[in-house]
Amino acid sequence: MAGDAKPPRVVIVIPARNEEASIGPVLEKTSALYPGYDIVVIDDASDDATGRIARAAGARVLRAPINLGYGGAVHAGFKYAYAGDYDIVVLLDADGQHDPRYVADIVEATRDYDFVVGSRFRGEAHYDIPPIRMAGMRVFSAIASAITGQRITDTSSGFQALRRKVFAMFATTHYPVDFPDADTIIWIARHGFKVGEVPVEMHQRTAGTSMISGLASSLKYALKMPLAILVTLLRIPAPHREEDAE
């Protein structure tokens, strides 16, 4: 893309489930900063006013009739971007944790990388993360770094940018249904795509509840993630599609 005369077509995909308290300000900030980017909210069958507020804020809203889960909503966003001929997808959370100011840095990094993760551990800020969860994040980051051969510090960050060839691969094949993590990064790297990180700052949640909370789900995460990484290594990467080459 470097050297192209035309700027890339960027779409910011915001998966949202019951985020009426935070979606408004997130959209306001984002559209003020990036008037040239399209914004699409995937309203994941919210029970509250998320969709209505997002539409009022001027975003394109796609509403799922049943709960897709985070991964399912993101996957729908990739399919939308693939059909809409976008060059770059930026994933941004609706809960206000991701600061839209960093979208520019993440998009800039797609000049050098096919898949960019906004890492909260590359910057200076400190985060209040429970020690057990932090240990899990360290272990999975180390595994992802070892397998991909690149230093990955924040596998669970949902603040990402994907170039067309990467989201085309997901749009036309599979994407994890629940929270994508180290397994997804390894899967991308195994396809030969270049993975990179840029430092970002994240805020504590402004409202609602986190996707990973409680002892039961932490335990499930600890059991599921090694298995997900194992099967990712056992799977054969999908061949690159001619029509998705950039």
Partner: protein, 113 residues
Amino acid sequence: MNIQVRVLSLIVSLLFVAYVVFLVRNRKLRETDSVVWILAGLAIFVLGIWVKPLIWFTDVIGAKFPVSTLFFSGLIFLTFISLWMTTRISGLTEQVKELAQQVTLLSGEADKD
């Protein structure tokens, strides 16, 4: 428990876990759904090596042989699994209905254009 039963349970449990991983690899089974089966396979593997807990539990419930305890626990486990599966089917049926209704409404919208 005699050695034949233990060796057999070790082999069967290993094959079982390998098959579950194979199914997940080929996307016939979701990672999340496979966790309970992998844990069950590992439990049988552990009990094949370390029989003490099984013997203790056999005494607690007043059974005569550890093997009957194993059968009894297996039956309870399978009963709960099938009940859980039924709730999943109910959930899926509800989702299909919801989706069909949405498609019905959209077909009406498309006719208007």
